[in-house]
């Protein structure tokens, strides 16, 4: 069983719980159909993994080495390739397809997943926003409204320590949110409804994987 899937973030809405009537905030995630492009096993590659491709593409959008990699196995050209680590890769064959519509992805309502995506880029931000530094007094003659304060001691060590939290580029990094609950599976629309927020912009690529270890399904009560 593939330990996850790739998906697109499609936006958020609010739905109702059938039993309690609670309003639940959900992210609508469109699961993309995937094709196995390579199976890696410990004997030849040093680890067990499945490489999948998704989003069909024209030849001009795929690099020559990737074109060769795909046409070697008579696979259609695909824009994206991604690996999933698995416990046993013998169960997979090249060309095998996975999608929510074919219901061979074991996503079920009530299960917990983790979602990985690229967070929204915030640009160059000050220490107050980027690192949650406390701000200075806004009045009484204070001029240190949102300044970072001292960045270190004096003559000893005589330099600023590496990794000092300062202003700089914020966001646009890989972020994983864990423990998100699946509140709906709609195979006919290839859609998962995930409770809460997931990283990234609408239309951004996501990896939805099981909360537990690769290949191990995590059940929640």
């Amino acid at each position: 069983m593939l330990p996850g899937c790739v998906a697109l973030k499609r936006g958020m809405t609010q739905i109702f719980d059938e039993k309690t009537g609670d309003a639940i905030p959900v992210t609508v995630v469109e699961v993309l159909p995937m094709t196995v492009t390579q199976v890696k096993c410990a004997a030849t590659d040093g680890y067990n993994a499945v490489q999948v491709g998704y989003v069909s593409a024209k030849a001009k959008h795929v690099s020559r080495p990737e074109q060769g990699h795909l046409t070697k196995n008579n696979l259609p050209l695909m824009r994206k390739l991604q690996e999933f680590r698995v416990v046993d890769s013998a169960a997979f064959t090249v060309g095998q397809s996975f999608s929510l519509a074919e219901s061979n992805l074991p996503f079920e309502k009530g299960e917990k997943v983790k979602v990985t995506g690229q967070s929204i880029g915030k640009g160059f931000q000050g220490a107050t926003k980027r690192w949650h530094f406390a701000r200075g007094p806004m009045s009484h003659g204070s001029k240190s409204h949102r300044l970072p304060g001292s960045i270190g001691a004096g003559t000893t060590p005589g330099r600023v320590l590496k990794g000092k939290k300062m202003a700089g580029r914020m966001g646009n990094e890989t972020v994983t949110t864990v423990g998100l609950e699946i509140v709906g599976v709609l195979p006919e629309k290839s859609v998962l409804l995930i409770k809460g927020t997931v990283p990234g912009v609408e239309g951004g690529y996501l990896t939805v994987s099981y909360h537990a270890k690769p290949g191990v399904k995590l059940k929640v009560s």
Binding site: G11, T13, F16, G21, A23, E30, L186, K189
Partner: protein, 120 residues
């Protein structure tokens, strides 16, 4: 922002039998209340101060004066907990939000009734 996909998903949770509620209406909202294992219905009767939101998150603010104290409740129109909503009387108003009703009491807090024909 709403895309066709999200509208489709929301459509599965929308009620189709909701009456047309506008600010100034007097309404009776029946709510399901779960106490332990028991479930009962509770009615709340008052004047609609305004509506907000869209689709599944559409809400209605209802105000009544109970024992001299103004009480406002906000109901999620499409929530399964809202059993029914019934329009009792239409009020003649010229605003979308009737927040001025909060500053009025007694005779000043009345709304002139608006009689509407079926076609409307």
């Amino acid at each position: 922002m709403s895309t066709p996909l999200i509208r489709d998903i929301e459509a599965m949770y929308l009620k189709t039998d909701l009456p047309h509620v506008v600010p100034g209406d007097s309404v009776r909202v029946t709510v399901r209340i779960v106490e332990g294992a028991k479930e009962r219905l509770q009615a709340f009767e008052g004047v609609v101060l305004g509506l907000s939101g869209a689709s599944t998150s559409r809400t209605v603010t209802v105000r009544k004066v109970f024992q001299g104290v103004g009480v406002e409740r906000i109901f999620l129109l499409h929530s399964p907990r809202v059993e029914s909503i019934k329009v009792l009387r239409h009020g003649y108003v010229r605003r979308a939000k009737l927040y001025y009703m909060r500053d009025r009491s007694g005779k000043a807090a009345r709304l002139r009734e608006k009689f509407v024909t079926k076609a409307q």
